[in-house]
């Protein structure tokens, strides 16, 4: 299934990109673990020495902006909500439509998570449709990041860990800003290194977060540090 999706994604990019090669500036995100491409069904070792196998990784990125180094260059994506989902590789790549010509270098800005206004604005479609599994049903609010998997260090019966990070209300507003300086390409490759997220987690004692709280805010801050430009 994943293979088919993957091929489909390559096929899609193949037919879509020539059409928009002129104006579109494409963002491509690549999941890694300590510099190695993240693969399915594989264990990785965290800095704390825990073995982990990430199984679900879904993340909302929103509010994309590009501030160019050339004076006056500024771009803001409209309806800027993207759900990256490991199950759906195509979701890791998308164009920033309508970006002005002549971008050389600058800063890519976006948010990890969904802003509070959107959180209180009712049912929405597309990436924000509540059927995407990224919405808390018993207490309104988007889940900004879902990371689930298996770690033998966690001594519960099925060794599962589950981090559902979100929260839009102070003092547990978990949305994070990310700013990445880059220099001009048509495609901007952004790495997401999951090992950074696990740097300060003791999976022996902490195996889940399922609602807005202090730890969710802290770990969201750590998650924001996972992003880096691959070809600066």
């Amino acid at each position: 299934m994943r293979m088919i999706l993957f091929l489909y994604c390559i096929f899609l990019t193949a037919i879509v990109s020539p059409l928009h090669a002129q104006e579109a500036f494409t963002l491509a995100f690549h999941p890694f673990f300590q510099g190695e491409p993240l693969e399915n069904d594989r264990f990785y070792v965290t800095e704390k020495g825990d073995s982990v196998m990430p199984e679900t990784f879904k993340i909302y990125l929103s509010g994309f902006e590009v501030k160019g180094e050339n004076p006056g260059f500024y771009y803001k994506e409209t309806e800027s909500y993207h759900l990256l989902d490991l199950e759906n590789p195509a979701s890791f790549q998308f164009p920033l439509r309508g970006i002005p010509e002549g971008l050389q270098s600058g800063v890519l800005h976006f948010q990890l998570g969904i802003d509070s206004l959107t959180n209180v604005s009712g049912a929405m479609g597309g990436a924000l449709d509540p059927s995407k599994g990224m919405y808390w049903t018993w207490q309104s609010g988007y889940i900004n990041l879902k990371l689930e998997g298996i770690s033998p260090s966690n001594k519960t019966r099925n060794h599962e860990f589950q981090f559902h990070l979100g929260g839009y209300l102070s003092p547990f507003n978990a949305v994070q800003s990310v700013d990445l300086p880059f220099s001009g390409q048509k495609t901007l490759d952004v790495g997401i290194d999951l090992s950074v997220f696990f740097r300060n987690i003791e999976l022996k004692t902490q195996k889940s977060i399922m609602s807005p709280c202090k730890d969710a805010v802290y770990l969201s801050g750590e998650a924001a540090k996972m992003f880096y430009i691959l070809n600066p």
Partner: protein
């Protein structure tokens, strides 16, 4: 050019007005502006009709046994009949009394503790709750997409046969928004179309003195969170608003409920602990527990003679809106569902 713009604006206004007039939602005279944003979800007859079908259809539950109406029955102002704590799937018992549903366009937070931040998002909670309807959203969407009835109704309401989470929720909201109750005797009196009896009038004055600050007219609630002095139930361990904000100052605060149709919406309070209005009044006069977070307004005791209790009760009964309780537009959509069965 200028005229063109004016024409366009006039056209938009007119069509907005048309849509508004055609839908069953309306703003009663002298009421505040609703808080629901109708711009992103304009109510239409087709949308409300779809929402009504969904509200009454057990297809939203895992084993097709429970519908929204199972816990929110029209004849009891859309609360649960006869149960203090609402019953869900497999007869499991929830932890809270289902609130009466009406005038929802004027509320911004839902549930007794405000856990839900928008009317659209409300339905997600019961559908997915294992003790209520026990179903997953994608599974509901698949069932609806495959049904004979719904894709056409979604197309009529939203222009697409595709059943999405967004449209499911918006349709349910559209129906619930039409549940406006503003035709009680109290309303007629306010519009100078009827008069209170002397007893009701006295009750109204007592009400304004003792209850109005929280149960504010014309909606009979400010929809804020307050501790009205109910002794905490040590079995349920429900601390209300604190669960959401994690702020100890919110311990034992619950949303102030409307008192419209109170005659029909028993049992009362978040855990349904009182069956009779008499018991509620006894609570306010002699049952208030003075805990840390007790509301300002109830620090000084409410004093009512037994005659006054009767008068206040008489006034509360003027909030009954029979037109609302028996409005056929809000009831089980028999014609629609019978059609489906015949096919």
């Amino acid at each position: 050019m200028k005229y063109g713009i004016i024409l366009i604006i006039a056209g938009v206004l007119l069509s907005a007005f048309q849509a508004f007039r055609n839908s069953a939602f309306y703003i009663p005279e002298n009421w505040p502006k609703p808080v629901y944003n109708f711009q992103v979800n304009p109510t239409t007859p087709a949308g409300a009709e779809l929402g009504r079908a969904l509200f009454y259809d057990p297809i939203l539950s895992r084993d097709s046994t429970i519908s929204c109406a199972s816990c929110h029955s029209q004849y009891t102002a859309f609360t649960h009949v006869d149960h203090a704590l609402s019953h869900g799937i497999g007869d499991s018992i929830g932890t809270r009394n289902s609130p009466a549903l009406m005038n929802l366009a004027w509320q911004s937070k839902f549930m007794w503790d405000g856990a839900i931040n928008h009317l659209d998002m409300q339905a997600l909670a019961p559908i997915t709750h294992p003790d209520e309807m026990g179903e997953s959203i994608p599974a509901v969407l698949t069932k609806l997409q495959r049904s004979e009835l719904y894709p056409a109704m979604f197309r009529k309401a939203f222009g697409s046969r595709e059943v999405t989470g967004e449209y499911l929720l918006k349709a349910l909201s559209q129906f619930m928004l039409t549940l406006v109750s503003a035709e009680s005797k109290y309303d007629s009196v306010m519009r100078n179309q009827a008069e209170f009896t002397p007893q009701e009038k006295n009750g109204y004055q007592l009400f304004r003195k003792n209850c109005e600050k929280c149960h504010k007219e014309p909606l009979f609630s400010t929809f804020e969170f307050r501790n009205n002095g109910l002794p905490a139930d040590t079995f349920l361990n429900d601390y209300g608003r604190m669960k959401i904000t994690q702020n100890p100052e919110d311990s034992l605060l619950f949303k102030i409920p409307t008192l419209r149709n109170i005659e029909y919406s028993a049992p009362y309070m978040h855990d349904g602990r009182y069956k009779k209005i008499k018991e509620v009044l006894r609570h306010y006069t002699s049952g208030i527990e003075h805990s840390q977070t007790l509301a300002e307004e109830l620090q000084t005791p409410v004093v009512l003679t037994s005659n006054e209790t009767v008068d206040i009760t008489a006034f509360l009964l003027t909030l009954t809106d029979k037109k609302f309780l028996f409005n056929p537009e809000f009831s089980f959509p028999q014609k629609l569902f019978l059609q489906k069965i015949k096919k």
